[in-house]
C-alpha cells in the first residue's frame, strides 16, 4: 500500500458492510414477515428496503429488520417505522415501488408518505 488514501478507500467501501453488526441503529424499519406477510409479498419489500437503505447511504442510521404477524393480515405487507422521539408510522399494502418512495421521502427527508399509511387505507 503506497498511500493512506488507498487505505481510506478500502475503509469507505467496507464500512457499510460491517455497520450492521453495531447493533440496532436510530431508526428501525420493521417488516411483518409472518406467513400472511410473506404470501402477500413481504420478502421483496424487505429486500428492497435493505437495498435502498444501502444505496442511499443510510445503513449506519437505519436498521431494517423483520417481525412476526402484527394482526392486520388484510393490509399486508405491513411495514412499521420507529424513530426515537416520534410516533411510529405504519405503512400498509407495501410494494417494492412504494418502498423506494418511502426511503426517498420518509427516511431521507423526514416526510411521511401519508397516502401509504394505515390511516389512509382505512
Amino acid at each position: 500500500m503506497k498511500s493512506l488514501a488507498e487505505l481510506a478507500a478500502i475503509r469507505e467501501r467496507m464500512k457499510d458492510k460491517v455497520v450492521l453488526r453495531e447493533g440496532v441503529a436510530g431508526t428501525r424499519v420493521v417488516v411483518g414477515m409472518a406467513t400472511c406477510g410473506i404470501s402477500a409479498g413481504a420478502r421483496p419489500v424487505l429486500n428492497t428496503f435493505v437495498e435502498e437503505v444501502n444505496n442511499e447511504g443510510l445503513a449506519d442510521t437505519v436498521t431494517v429488520t423483520q417481525t412476526g404477524c402484527i394482526g392486520i393480515c388484510q393490509y399486508e405487507p405491513v411495514v412499521e417505522i420507529f424513530e426515537a422521539g416520534k410516533d411510529k408510522v405504519t405503512y400498509v399494502k407495501m410494494t417494492p415501488d412504494k418502498v423506494k418512495r418511502v426511503v426517498a421521502e420518509h427516511l431521507k427527508k423526514g416526510n411521511i408518505v401519508s397516502e401509504y399509511t394505515i390511516g389512509n387505507a382505512q
Binding site: 447493533g23 420493521v30 428496503f49 429488520t65
Partner: protein, 596 residues
C-alpha cells in the same frame, strides 16, 4: 443485498464444541430457503462465553444464541431469519437477569461491566478478511504513526497512556521501547511473546484467532519506533487455529503492502514471521524465548544485559505480549488520555481475564483495571455453581498466588495484587469453592513447575522438586512437624537465587496458600485430615450404622477385603486396610457410606 449477518464463533472453544458444523448446516439451510444472498455468515473470533458454546449472534437485532446444535439450525432459519421471530429457547439465559433475560449479548450482566479494548474486534469481524479489519479503523494507527508522528511522539503517547506489559510483569511498555530506541545498531528486532503457557489462560490465543491484524499493526508500529524492520511472533504449536489465522493475516498484509517495503510510501520497511514453540513453559520467559527463536534449546540467559540492549541474535530487541500489542493501535488512534481514563492510578486501561474453575460463566472477560474480584466473580462471572461458597481465586497461574474470600473486595490491578501476595500474571483467574483443598492446589501448580523447569539452574531444578516432595508427603498423610518451616525456607531460597522468572516465582502458590490457609496445612500435618475432603489418602470412608442394612454388597465390592460384618447387622470398614478407592460408596444402595 445483505440484510442480516449471522456471526458464528470460530474460536478454539466453540470449534471444539462443533461450531464448524453449524456453518455448513446454516449454509445448506439458507440455500434451501433461497435466502443465501440475503444473509451473510461471518466466522469470527471468540465472544468470551466459551462455556456456552457454540455461540451465534444474529444482527441487526444482536440476538445472542448459545449452545446451538446442528438440528437447531432449521428453526433459526425458518423462524428468525425468514420470519423475524426470535427463537426464545436458544437465547442465552442470563442467570443474573432472572426471568427477563436479555436477547442481546451487550445487555447481559456478563458483558455490561466489560470494556473491550484488546478484544474489541474479537467476535465482531471475520479475522480472515483484512478488509473487515480495515473497515473498523484497522491500520489507521500505523498510517498515523508513519505519516504524522515522530518516533519520539509515539513513545510519549505510550508513556502518557500508562500502558504496562500484559504478560505478567507489568513493566511500562514505553520504557521498554525507549531503551531499544536509544540503542544504535545495524539491526534491531520486534518480538511478540505468544507462548501463552499459564494453565487456564487463553486471551492471547483468542486475540490471535479473532483479531490477528491488530497484532501485526502494533508490531509494525513498534518496528517504526525502535528502528527495526523484522518482527517475529513466537507462538505455541498447540494453537493451530491461531497460527493458521495469523499466517493468513500476515499474507494478506503483505499483499496489501502493509508489510514489506516502503509502507505507505514513507520508505519504512517492515516484515514479520512466525516461529513455532514446542510448548515448553520456560519459553514464555523472554530470554528463553529469544534463545529458542535463535534455534537453540529454550533456556534462559542471565539478565542484564536486557533484551532491549542485547536480545535476539545479540541485537537490541523489544519483546511484548500479544495483549499488550493489541492495545497499542487503539491508544494511538484514541489518544493517551482516553486510555489513561480507564483503570487505576498506576494500572491504566483494561485487562483480559480467563475465568475458570468453579464459576458459572467460564470464558474470557475484559474489564477496567481496578474492578474488584467480587464484581468479577459474582456479577460478570455469575457466581459459584451449585450454591457453594467462594473460597479463593488463584491469579497468575503457577507464578501467582491466591486471593482468599476475606480479600474479595480487593481491586484487581498490578500493585494491589502484589501487595496481597499474588500477581496479575497473564490473566488466568481460577475460582475455587469450599470443596477445593488449598494444599492440593499448591501441589498441582508445583507439579507443573517441576515438570516445566528447564534444569539450567539448581535452585529451580532441585529446589522445586524438594518442595513438591514435602507437599506430597503432607497430602499423603505423612506430614510431620517442621514441614511447613522447611517449605518456607526452601521457597525463599528458590525465589532469591533462581536464574529466571520461572524459578523466582515458582514458590508463590505455596507461599500464598501458606499465608492465607496455614490452618489447612496444619490440619493435614497434625490431624491427618483434609478439611475440603479432596486429599484421597486422608479421606476416611465410614459406614453409618443406622442406615446400614447389612446386605454385604459393599464387602463383596471391596477389592482389599477391608469391610466385614454379620449379614443383617451394620458392617464396618477397617481403616488400616482401606485403600480409599470409593467402590463401597458406589455400591451401597442405602446411602449408608460417607466420606469424611
Amino acid at each position: 443485498m445483505i440484510r442480516s449477518h449471522v456471526l458464528i464463533c470460530g474460536g478454539t472453544g466453540c470449534n471444539s464444541s462443533g461450531s464448524a458444523h453449524l456453518e455448513t448446516a446454516l449454509e445448506k439451510e439458507l440455500a434451501a430457503k433461497g435466502i443465501q444472498d440475503e444473509i451473510k455468515i461471518v466466522k469470527t473470533g471468540c465472544f468470551g462465553l466459551c462455556a456456552l458454546g457454540p455461540v451465534m449472534i444474529v444482527y441487526p437485532e444482536g440476538t445472542f444464541y448459545s449452545r446451538v446444535q446442528v438440528n437447531d439450525i432449521p428453526e433459526i432459519v425458518e423462524e428468525h431469519l425468514l420470519k423475524g421471530r426470535i427463537v426464545d429457547r436458544l437465547v442465552y439465559n442470563d442467570a443474573a437477569e432472572g426471568e427477563t433475560h436479555a436477547t442481546s449479548l451487550n445487555d447481559t450482566a456478563f458483558y455490561k461491566k466489560q470494556k473491550r479494548v484488546a478484544l474489541r474486534n474479537c467476535g465482531v469481524i471475520n479475522p480472515e478478511i483484512i478488509d473487515e479489519y480495515i473497515a473498523v479503523d484497522g491500520y489507521q494507527a500505523l498510517g498515523k504513526c508513519l505519516t504524522e508522528l515522530s518516533r519520539e511522539d509515539v513513545i510519549n503517547i505510550l508513556k502518557e497512556s500508562g500502558l504496562r506489559g500484559r504478560g505478567g510483569g507489568g513493566f511500562p511498555t514505553a520504557m521498554k521501547w525507549q531503551f531499544a530506541y536509544n540503542q544504535t545498531a545495524d539491526q534491531k528486532y520486534v518480538v511478540c511473546n505468544a507462548d501463552e503457557g499459564d494453565p487456564g489462560a487463553f486471551m492471547d490465543r483468542s486475540i490471535l484467532e479473532g483479531d490477528p491484524h491488530a497484532l501485526i499493526e502494533a508490531m509494525a508500529i513498534a518496528g517504526y519506533v525502535i528502528g527495526a524492520n523484522q518482527g517475529y511472533v513466537y507462538v505455541r504449536a498447540e494453537y493451530p487455529i491461531a497460527v493458521k489465522r495469523l499466517q493468513i493475516a500476515i499474507n494478506q498484509a503483505r499483499d496489501y503492502g502493509l508489510l514489506g517495503k516502503d509502507i505507505f510510501g514513507t520508505g519504512f520497511d517492515f516484515d514479520m514471521d512466525i516461529r513455532l514453540g514446542a510448548g515448553a513453559f520456560v519459553c514464555g520467559e523472554e530470554t528463553a524465548l529469544l534463545t529458542s527463536i535463535e534455534g537453540h534449546r529454550g533456556e534462559p540467559r542471565v539478565r542484564p544485559p536486557f533484551p532491549a540492549v542485547k536480545g535476539l541474535f545479540d541485537k537490541p530487541t523489544i519483546i511484548n505480549n500479544v495483549e499488550t500489542y493489541a492495545n497499542i493501535p487503539q491508544i494511538i488512534l484514541k489518544g493517551a488520555d482516553w486510555f489513561a481514563s480507564m483503570g487505576t492510578e498506576k494500572s491504566k486501561g483494561t485487562k483480559v481475564f480467563a475465568l475458570g474453575g468453579k464459576i458459572e460463566n467460564t470464558g474470557l472477560v475484559e474489564i477496567p483495571m481496578g474492578t474488584t474480584l467480587r464484581e468479577i466473580v459474582y456479577e460478570i462471572g455469575g457466581g459459584i455453581p451449585n450454591g457453594k461458597k467462594f473460597k479463593a481465586a488463584q491469579t497468575g497461574g503457577p507464578s501467582g498466588g491466591c486471593i482468599p474470600a476475606s480479600l474479595i473486595d480487593t481491586p484487581v490491578d498490578y500493585d494491589s495484587l502484589i501487595a496481597i501476595g499474588s500477581m496479575m500474571g497473564s490473566g488466568g483467574l481460577i475460582v475455587m469453592d469450599e470443596d477445593n483443598c488449598m494444599v492440593d492446589i499448591a501441589k498441582f501448580f508445583l507439579e507443573f513447575t517441576v515438570d516445566e523447569s528447564c534444569g539450567k539452574c539448581t535452585p529451580c531444578r532441585v529446589g522445586t522438586r524438594r518442595m513438591l516432595e514435602i507437599l506430597e508427603k503432607i497430602t499423603d498423610g505423612r506430614g510431620e512437624d517442621g514441614d511447613i518451616e522447611k517449605l518456607e525456607e526452601l521457597a525463599l531460597t528458590i525465589k532469591a537465587t533462581s536464574l529466571c522468572g520461572l524459578g523466582q516465582t515458582a514458590p508463590n502458590p505455596v507461599l500464598s496458600t501458606l499465608r492465607y490457609f496455614r490452618d489447612e496445612y496444619e490440619a493435614h500435618i497434625y490431624e491427618k485430615r483434609c478439611p475440603a475432603g479432596q486429599c484421597k489418602k486422608l479421606a476416611r470412608y465410614i459406614i453409618d450404622a443406622d442406615k446400614c442394612k447389612g446386605c454385604s454388597l459393599c464387602a463383596k465390592k471391596c477389592p482389599v477385603g477391608a469391610i466385614t460384618g454379620e449379614i443383617k447387622s451394620p458392617f464396618t470398614i477397617d481403616q488400616d486396610k482401606c485403600i480409599k478407592c470409593g467402590a463401597c460408596i458406589e455400591s451401597c444402595k442405602f446411602n449408608a457410606i460417607y466420606k469424611k
